[in-house]
Amino acid sequence: MSATATFATTLRVLTQLRRDPRTIALIIGVPCLLVTLIRYVFDAQPDVFNRIGGTMLGLFPFITMFIVTSITMLRERVTGTLERLMTLPLAKLDILLGYAIAFGALAVVQSTVVSLLAFGLLDLHVQGSHLAVIALAVGNAILGMALGLFASAFARTEFQAVQFMPAIVFPQVLLCGLFVARNQMAHWLEVISNVFPLTYAYDALARVTQGRGLGRWFVIDLCVVIGSTLLALALGAATLRRRTP
């Protein structure tokens, strides 16, 4: 692998994104809209907004990057650019890291804007540090990217890729503990939620935003999230084949 090729790929992905200002506007605008909605839906219950809002800041980038990556990667596969890249002196890791850096940067922008809005205008209060929330958000963005990359290998069309969002992301969001504490769910759902990476991403966010202390469990959360990201990236890399049938 080479730093030049990785950097070239990052630059290329960012240029592609820049060509599509509407998508950037949606990536940044939609979470702002949703946070605002939630703020006023829970107008009479600021505690609920503080509990849900803080963690949602960290989960938006996960969802966005999952969609963006699975569609972009599918396009690379369908249009033949991936096949061409595979004949060039470019390591698979160059492609993956190139994407990760570009989308990571986008995630920083997204979570910073949404955080500024939430903390500045919507009166969101969290116990922990705002920077830690943003840092976790970026980590979740990379996790979403890695899962999206892997998922894209199983879609033949953009319609299918879009459906992976509800199929892979929604169950994780429902079961992660955001809406209902996991120990109040049916036991078998709690068991399933134990194997979803988003459960740990949420738990880490909840610990930071609720100031529950960052002890051993926080470290375990981080390890699981990083481990799942690496695993998804490895699986994703395995789907980038130099030779195809």
Binding site: R12, R19, G80, P89
Partner: protein
């Protein structure tokens, strides 16, 4: 000397035998035309030569190395049949990206744009270009970094006649500089522009030789007729 050597190549795609056992050579420094109707196995053969096709058997050597080996990735350039450039980038941005991947200085991204005649469209987004212009943008990226072998899958489809002539002239000047070109086409009138021909039908080689040799062998003046004659002869 052969730049590409294919021995008993067998390719099965989706349960169909596309290439049952093909052997051929492509002479170094030549422009070799790979001709045959749609579905004859041209693209599959080309994919095997650039090493992106899973093969069931046989060997393909390019510049003495197994097809697709890491060492060849700088020396062999490939243009897919459908234009494989980023539609949301400009022509120049595409060229600069591929140049960076190849580790070339930025300035080297300019020459291919001129070669394919896209100077006026260089800063336009590929999506906004015509089909022929997109194909040329895709071709331009393959010219980066002076590859020793160029494998081009139907690069001149949909181009206007003047441009087609210019492209063939650039292919020949690349070959004069020592490059080997394998160019596929399904139109026989392009065959005359090649030094060597490989006629493919149903995954098997019908004939090889120079255009003149093929005409002589079949006693025809036109390569289209020659192709028909060869099919008839093979059927007998």
């Amino acid at each position: 000397m052969a730049a590409i050597e294919i021995r008993d190549l067998r390719v099965v795609r989706g349960g169909n035998v596309v290439l049952p056992g093909l052997s051929a050579e492509v002479a170094a420094g030549s422009v070799t035309g790979l001709l045959g109707p749609s579905g004859s196995g041209k693209s599959t053969l080309i994919r095997a030569i650039v090493g992106v096709q899973i093969v069931a058997g046989g060997t393909v050597l390019v510049l003495g190395e197994p097809a697709g080996s890491a060492e060849l990735r700088r020396r062999v350039a490939y243009v897919t049949q459908a234009p494989s450039v980023y539609a949301d980038l400009t022509v120049r941005e595409n060229l600069r990206y591929f140049a960076r991947v190849l580790g070339l200085p930025r300035a080297r991204a300019e020459d291919p744009i001129t070669t394919v005649g896209l100077e006026d469209e260089a800063d336009r987004v590929v999506q906004k270009l015509s089909g022929g212009q997109r194909a040329r943008a895709s071709l331009a990226t393959a010219l980066l970094g002076e590859p020793e072998v160029l494998v081009l899958d139907e690069p001149t489809v949909g181009q206007d006649p003047v441009l087609r002539r210019d492209l063939w002239n650039s292919f020949h000047s690349l070959a004069d500089d020592g490059a080997t070109l394998l160019v596929s086409s399904h139109v026989m009138d392009e065959a005359d522009r090649c030094d060597q021909l490989v006629l493919l039908r149903g995954g098997e080689i019908l004939a090889t030789g120079t255009p003149d040799e093929l005409r002589e062998r079949t006693g025809t003046r036109d390569l289209d007729e020659a192709f028909l004659k060869l099919i008839e002869q093979a059927g007998e």
